[in-house]
């Protein structure tokens, strides 16, 4: 079967972006194509998958056609992919499957979200549309509330306290501090992160990622074209996806994400790799407790050991076996919902090509993983990338 290589990747800065949808998307695409070592242009693209929730209702219909029209991909077969915050993780998977199946040789996957030019009221409405609207939301829950329920239960079931979440926050802010595309470039002390304003008890402001504007795009090609575009392609070694009950209360466990487990098992199996072979992982830390769960569900820590993993600093850059969220993660780099998944891939692309500016480069990075979750865990896409085919 065809192997798939990533030959280009680019993104806008995440944060409060001055540009709108067309401007941000075209910037991400421009950067992605300019990152390809040899000649490659948008007109060569055969298929495009663009993840977005269309936050705020802006160009809710035919979003993707608008974006390709404004980025030199006029006429391409394109569609919007929507799986909440995992939209572009699934766009990436769709692009990978399209090449794998032989339907196309050059495919763009990306994502976009414009979140910060809405009123606070309208923003809160849109932040809740991906949860279980019928039962959870009418019980007062948006995602901070859902993850707060998970965190309190996790502390109850395991030897863990809120301090463990503070360690996650401090680490990710430390990683993101030097990332020029990160939304929140702040070095945050343990004391400061311990004393944040309460959002959803026990989660404070420092446990929650920001809402960001941003766009990201990657270029995937079939194996026979990879070296036409670059001498250092990054191979998509595995892709997996899974889903779970939409509402937390319908799941057997409140402290595990089955969708992550299913997705990562598939991805590891296809890649023929084990968790201990991953050098860096960009995991979906929309809330700090989500990173603790992810380290367990992805196999980096044992069940109930995610808190200790964070406490011991095992995910810090170049300190443990695996660097978790070298980019700063959603917590620091930011979370423009639809753009997050392929934004993670952009970071891994650069890390594995050893093109990240000092001091952010993960030493001897050979294999990287991205983990993109939709909502409170209803959907998840995991990808594994490597320098070796």
């Amino acid at each position: 079967m065809v192997d798939v290589a990533m030959v280009g990747a680019g993104q806008t800065k995440f944060g409060n972006h001055p540009l709108g949808l067309k401007g941000m998307w075209s910037e991400a695409v421009e950067k992605a194509f300019s990152s390809v070592d040899n000649d490659c242009s948008p007109s060569m693209v055969e298929e495009a998958f663009i993840g977005s929730i269309a936050f705020g209702g802006s160009q809710l219909g035919n979003t993707a056609a608008l974006l390709t029209e404004h980025s030199g991909m006029d006429g391409v077969s394109v569609r919007r992919v929507e799986n909440a915050c995992a939209s572009s993780g699934f766009a990436l998977r769709d692009a990978w499957m399209t090449i794998k199946s032989g339907q196309a040789d050059i495919v763009v996957a990306g994502g976009i979200e414009k979140m910060n030019d809405l009123s606070a009221e309208r923003k809160r409405y849109w932040l809740g549309v991906s949860g279980d609207t019928e039962w959870e939301r009418l019980a007062g829950l948006t995602f901070p509330g859902t993850y707060a329920l998970t965190a309190r239960r996790y502390f109850h079931e395991f030897e863990s306290t809120h301090d463990d979440l503070v360690h996650v926050s401090v680490k990710n802010h430390m990683h993101g501090f030097d990332n020029e595309v990160a939304h929140l470039r702040k070095d945050v002390s343990f004391e400061k992160a311990s004393s944040g304003a309460m959002v959803a008890d026990p989660l404070t402001l420092y446990d929650c990622c920001p809402t960001s504007d941003g766009a990201s795009a990657v270029i995937l090609v079939a194996d026979h074209l990879a070296h036409q575009f670059t001498d250092t392609p990054i191979w998509v070694k595995g892709s997996g996806a899974g889903s779970d009950k939409l509402a937390l209360h319908d799941r057997p466990s409140l402290t595990q994400l089955r969708a992550t487990q299913l997705a990562s098992q598939k991805a590891y199996s296809i890649a023929n790799l084990q968790p201990n072979q991953i050098d860096l992982a960009e995991v979906h830390d929309c809330f700090t407790i989500a990173e603790v769960l992810a380290t367990e569900d992805l196999g980096f820590a044992g069940r109930g050991e995610g808190g200790r993993f964070a406490r011991d600093g095992l995910g810090r850059r170049n300190e443990g076996d695996v660097t978790i969220n070298a980019s700063g993660g959603l917590k620091s780099k930011g979370h423009p919902l639809g753009a997050t998944g392929t934004g993670q891939a952009v970071e891994v692309f650069k890390q594995l090509r050893h093109q990240v500016e000092s001091p952010r480069q993960v030493r001897d990075a050979e294999v990287g993983l991205t983990h993109n979750v939709g909502g409170s865990g209803a959907t998840c896409a995991v990808h594994i990338f490597g320098r070796e085919r």
Partner: protein, 266 residues
């Protein structure tokens, strides 16, 4: 909240524990009536004049709400009448069509007048809003009402299923609700959302209440669910604590009030 009751020769009366002038932060004549009905031996009841006394229109028919929540049957020829005072928050069940003398029902809980006025204003403003909350279709509200208000549950291969589901893993349609969950459950986890963390449906009222609390509970028959906590001004939830449930106002939207069960700490 427990209701205050009194009775006369021809009627039994109820108000909220705040007394006849207020039904509480998320109460109204209908929530008081439901508790009064639940406390009496079920029979048949007429509700026409009661429906006209409601301040706002419920999102689903009052008769359906009553029959989902209680064992009473609403009928135009009902043996009893459900009645409400137009000048106070007192509700009555009587065999008579009208009440000539409404009683004085004193409060057992102090009323914060400023908060009361602020909350009443918040409801007024909230209900005229359009789609400020995530949209749930009217048909879905109506179809799920017995489960939402009455904890009606399905059974599939000896497993109790709630909230309602359509097909099982074999692709077979799960039979309609034939069970009712206990009106008690155990807290597995909980959170208190600040006004910032609460959904937009509650954005006007949450700041006045100092946030909103939500509990995730497990029923003894297996299903789990999430409920907003009510009347928790003086208590805080804890894991392992038990709760019971009452129908309260959830939110207002498009000129309709949506009702649902809220949890009360035992």
């Amino acid at each position: 909240m427990p209701i205050s009751k009194s009775s006369s020769e021809h009627a039994v009366f109820a108000s909220s524990t705040y007394g006849e002038q207020w039904a509480g932060p998320d109460g109204d004549r209908l929530t008081i009536a439901l508790q009064l009905l639940q406390s009496q031996t079920p029979s048949t009841i007429q509700i026409d004049s009661f429906v006209n006394s409601l301040e706002y229109t419920p999102s689903t028919p009052v008769a359906s709400i009553i029959e989902s929540t209680t064992d009473w049957t609403v009928s135009p020829d009902g043996e009893f009448h459900l009645l409400a005072s137009n000048s106070s928050f007192i509700v009555a069940i009587s065999k008579l069509e009208t009440i000539s003398q409404w009683p004085d029902l004193s409060s057992t809980k102090p009323v914060d007048e400023q908060q009361k006025i602020a909350l009443e204003d918040a409801w007024k403003n909230e209900i005229v809003g359009v789609s400020q909350g995530a949209y749930v279709s009217q048909s879905q509200h109506i179809l799920a009402m017995p489960s939402r208000l009455g904890l009606h549950a399905q059974e599939d291969a000896s497993k109790i299923v709630w909230p309602p589901r359509q097909l099982n893993e074999q692709g077979q349609r799960i039979a309609p609700a034939s069970n009712r969950l206990d009106n008690a459950a155990t807290i597995l986890t909980w959170t208190r959302l600040s006004a910032v963390g609460a959904p937009s449906e509650f954005s006007l009222r949450a700041p006045l209440l100092g946030g909103v609390s939500t509990v995730l509970v497990e029923f003894s028959s297996g299903p789990k669910g999430v409920f907003m906590l009510a009347d928790d001004e003086e208590g805080q939830a804890s894991i392992g604590q038990t709760v019971s449930f009452e129908v309260r106002r959830l939110y207002g939207q498009d000129n309709l009030i949506h009702y649902g069960l809220k949890a009360l700490l035992n």
